[in-house]
Amino acid sequence: MPLRFAIGIDAGSAQTKAVLLDSISLALLAKASLPTGWNPKASAEAVLAKLWQGFGEAQACSIVATGYGRVAIPFADKNITEISCHAKGAVHCFPTARLVIDIGGQDSKVISLAEGGAVRDFLMNDKCAAGTGRFVESVARLLGLHIAEFCALASGGEACAITSMCAVFAETEIIGLLAQGAKPGAIAQGVLASIARRMQGLAARLPGTGDCVFSGGLAQSPVCAERLAQELGCPVLVPEYPQFTGALGAALEAARLAKEKNA
C-alpha cells in the first residue's frame, strides 16, 4: 500500500510544531503545536497524538524531524536542519521567495535562496538572545503581557530607543525606561524596531534581492512584519501559518521520502 501521509515535526526550543500532509497532493491535512517541555521526544509524541486526533488513530506515514530537538526523535525517518526546512516551507508558500527571515525561540536566521528555491547561503544569530523570540517574550513578561498583546501595543506612536546588544542588559535598560515613566507601547515599539534592525543587518550581508518571506512565531504579529518591511525597505510576505513554516518544510521532505518509497 502506498504511503499516503507525510509528517514534519519541528522540535523548537519554545514550541514543538507538527504538520501532516497528503504525500501525493501535498494538501495540508492537519497541524498541531505544543510547548516544548524538558523532553523533546515526549513533546514530539504528544504533538503527534494531537495531529492524528481527527483520524481516530495514527496511520502509516513517513516522518522528518527538524529543530533543536531533531536528533532526540527516534521515530523520525530522517532529520534535517531548520535552515533547509524553513527554506523549503517558504518556497512552497511563495515560489518567488529569495530571502527567508526566521525569528525563532532561541535564534534568528536569514537564508538566501537561489532561483528554484535551493539554499544558497545563510547567516544565524545564535550567540545571543537579543533578536530572538525569547527576548520579546521576556520583555512582554516584564510588562505583564502575553506576546501577542505586546506586539499589538507596538502599532503606533513614539518608540523608545533600545540600544543594548544583550537580552539581559536590554531588560535592565527597559526597567530603567519604565522607571523614567516610558509607556509600554513605546517600549514595545522600541523592542520590535531593535529586532528588525538586527535582522536587516544580517540580511544586508547576504547577496540577492527578491521576495522576502518572514517565518517563525513572531511573524504572526502584523506589526512585527510591518516593522521588518520598514527596516528592509521592501515588502515582506508572511505565510498563512508562519510558525509552522519549518514543520511544513520537514513535511515536504517527508513527502519526498514517501514518494521514493512508493516508487
Binding site: I80, T81, E82, I83, S84, V119, R120, M124, D126, K127
Partner: protein, 377 residues
C-alpha cells in the same frame, strides 16, 4: 582504520616531554616559540631545540581571565593561562621564549609573560613589501645576535645551511603526510591530520620527527585506497590555528559527514611551505621565506587568497570553511573578503565559523555546519 606507523608515532610522541627533559639534562637548550614567523632554523642552527608552546586548551582560560580581559581571543588566553598555572612543560623547559607581534592582544600579553619568563619579542612587520623585508631582516639579525649571546655560540652560515636542510626535510616529510588528504577518499580524517601535525610540533628530536612522519607517509601511501563513494563532502578548513583541545569545529564537521582533507593554518599546512633552493645568503633566504607566510596580520594579504585557491584545487575540495577565534579581529575582518573570493572567484560554498575553545555552543555550531553540508548535498 588503524595504521601501525601512526600508532608508533603516537606512542613516541606521548613521550615528548620525557624526551625533552632528557635532552635538557644532557645540556641542550630549549627555545619555545608561539608563531611560525619565528624561523625555527635560527634556533636549530645555534644548537637549541625549537619547540611549540601550549595554547590550544580551554582548561587554562579561566585562570588567564583573572588577569586578561574576557573579550580577548581564546588562543592568547589559553597560552597565558598555561604560563600562570605553570602547566605547560614546554614553556617550563624553555630557556628563551620567542614572541612575534602578530596582533595587539598578543603583544600586550607578552609584556605580562615577560614578568615570568625570559621573553624575546620579534617585531613583525604588517606588510610584505621591500621596506618590510629590510625591517624583518634587521629583526632576524638582532634575534640571531640574541641567540648567540644567550647560548654563547656563534651561528655560522654553515650551521644555518645545515639547519635549513633539517627544516626542509621536516617540511617535506610533513607535507607527504598532509598530502595524503589529496586522495579520494582521504585515508586520514581531518582530526588525524591535525593530531599528527600537532604532536610532531612538540617532538624535541628533529631527526625523529622526520623519520616518524616519513614512515606514516610511506605506510599509508602504499596502502590500497578505499573505495571512493564520493558521499563525504571534501572540506578545506582555513583560518586561525587549531590543535588538540581546539579541534571542535573539525570534529563537528566530520561527525556531520564531511571529510576535512586539508587544514590551511599555521598549525598544519602553512608549516610545509617549502624553502626555495638558493645558495647565497641563508639569513636573507629565511627572511624572505618567513615573511611570505599568509597570516591575516598582513595587510594586504594576497598570499592567503593564492594559497586557498591552490589548496582548493589540489585537494579537489567541495567547500571552504573559515575558522575564526572570537576576538581575533584580523581573521574576522578578512573573512568578508575571503568569502567574496571563494564564492565568486572559486565558485565554492563558504562558511565562516566564529567561536572559542568552550563546548557551550557545540549544538548551535552543529546546526550551522549541518545546514551548510545540506547545501552541498
Amino acid at each position: 582504520m588503524s595504521w601501525s606507523s601512526l600508532e608508533q608515532f603516537r606512542a613516541k610522541s606521548d613521550r615528548n616531554v620525557l624526551r625533552m627533559q632528557a635532552e635538557k639534562k644532557a645540556g641542550r637548550k630549549v627555545v619555545g616559540q608561539y608563531c611560525i614567523y619565528t624561523p625555527m632554523e635560527l634556533v636549530l642552527a645555534c644548537g637549541a631545540i625549537p619547540v611549540s608552546l601550549c595554547g590550544t586548551k580551554n582548561d587554562s582560560i579561566a585562570k588567564a581571565e583573572t588577569v586578561l580581559p574576557r573579550s580577548l581571543c581564546p588562543l592568547i588566553k589559553s597560552s597565558f593561562g598555561f604560563a600562570l598555572e605553570d602547566s605547560c612543560p614546554y614553556l617550563a623547559a624553555s630557556d628563551l621564549v620567542v614572541c612575534d607581534t602578530t596582533c595587539d592582544g598578543k603583544k600586550k600579553m607578552f609584556e605580562l609573560l615577560a614578568r615570568r619568563k625570559p621573553v624575546y619579542v620579534l617585531e613583525l612587520p604588517q606588510r610584505q613589501d621591500a621596506e618590510a623585508l629590510v625591517f624583518w631582516q634587521k629583526q632576524l639579525e638582532l634575534f640571531k645576535g640574541k641567540l648567540e649571546e644567550t647560548f654563547k655560540v656563534n651561528i655560522s652560515d654553515d650551521a644555518l645551511w645545515q639547519a635549513i636542510d633539517v627544516s626542509r626535510r621536516f617540511r617535506a616529510a610533513l607535507q607527504k603526510v598532509l598530502d595524503l588528504g589529496k586522495r579520494k577518499p582521504s585515508p586520514l580524517t581531518g582530526l588525524e591530520l591535525l593530531e599528527i601535525a600537532f604532536r610532531a610540533s612538540f617532538m624535541p628530536v628533529y631527526e625523529e620527527r622526520i623519520s616518524e612522519l616519513e614512515s606514516i607517509a610511506s605506510e599509508i601511501g602504499a596502502a590500497q585506497a578505499a573505495e571512493n563513494t564520493g558521499r563525504a563532502p571534501r572540506i578545506l578548513l582555513t583560518g586561525v590555528p587549531t590543535g588538540l583541545g581546539s579541534h571542535k569545529v573539525i570534529k563537528i564537521l566530520e561527525e556531520s559527514g564531511a571529510s576535512v582533507v586539508c587544514i590551511d593554518n599555521c598549525s598544519c599546512y602553512k608549516k610545509v611551505r617549502p624553502i626555495p633552493s638558493e645558495q647565497h645568503d641563508p639569513l636573507a633566504l629565511l627572511v624572505r621565506h618567513s615573511l611570505a607566510i599568509p597570516c591575516a596580520v598582513m595587510s594586504p594579504n594576497p598570499n592567503r587568497y593564492e594559497t586557498v585557491a591552490e589548496l582548493a584545487r589540489e585537494f579537489s575540495v567541495d567547500a571552504v570553511c573559515d575558522l575564526t577565534w572570537q576576538g581575533c579581529q584580523t581573521y574576522d575582518v578578512e573573512s568578508y573578503s575571503l568569502r567574496d573570493f571563494v564564492q565568486n572567484t572559486l565558485s565554492l560554498p563558504f562558511l565562516q565559523i566564529v567561536t572559542d575553545y568552550a563546548e557551550s555552543d557545540v549544538e548551535q555550531l552543529r546546526i550551522r555546519i549541518q545546514a551548510f553540508l545540506e547545501i552541498l548535498s
